[in-house]
Subunit: 121 residues, 2 copies
DNA sequence: CCCAATTACGAATCTCGTAACTATG
DNA sequence: CATAGTTACGAGATTCGTAATTGGG
């Protein structure tokens, strides 16, 4: 999540050079950040989220800090014993949840498909 | 997308050791693969998709090959002048499109939010 | 001191471009 | 030969775990 640019006013409105001569559209968000965030809110702390996501607290902390920096808004306030989402965090969570649901549907769909063409090996 | 395991019968049903002593749940899919796939179908070839996604054809080809391997199904057939989605590919695309829409909504939402708490710097 | 989170740093992993190659027409 | 895609390889970018540190209770 180490990025040398900041998000613009609208999503996907920037281009940067990358690895040689090509360029790349800037993108916000990735599914892992969204998942970590939803988990953190659901379980009330980064520590609890880390357990459920099978990663270290540090990974969650870093990922979510990056997410906040990229979005430009604070997603939750850090309390002594866990976290509490901000107004933005709550609003973001609602949208995020539907994205995660869609992702799960897609995974389920793919693993349950029996229509043929399965690759062998 | 280099993974040493294969997807199981249901999504997220496997655990593997990773980087030290922790373990990690296996996950299918990432947003980039889905975006590349949708683009490839929309534009009819990997080459065209690569242009629109600002990456090389090789990156698209690799990403989608990995996706097919992970899913266990072929997503499209390679023709002399482009590609054509399989039955599975078409079905997958329908679900994938709604996920991508959700993602875009989330990006738009985040960049258009004006409720406060914006991080300075 | 305990607990939750963050920062620092390095190793493992992943992404993707260049180059070389295969296949179809 | 021209076009579309694939494979191989390595450089650069990202992820994440361990260790050390900070801050509230």
């Amino acid at each position: 999540m180490k990025r040398d640019w900041l998000p613009g006013k609208t999503a996907c409105d920037k281009v940067r050079p990358v690895q040689g001569s090509l360029e790349s559209r800037v993108r916000l968000l990735n599914i892992k950040q969204i998942r970590y965030f939803a988990s953190a809110v659901a379980y009330g702390s980064l520590t609890a989220a880390a357990k459920h996501e099978y990663v270290s607290v540090q990974a969650i902390s870093k990922s979510l800090s990056d997410l906040e920096r990229e979005l430009g808004y604070s997603l939750f306030s850090r309390k002594s014993h866990g976290i509490a989402p901000t107004a933005f965090g709550n609003a973001f969570l609602r949208e995020a949840t539907s994205v995660l649901k869609g992702f799960e549907r897609l995974e389920t769909f793919a693993t349950c498909w029996g229509g043929g063409a399965r690759i062998s090996g």
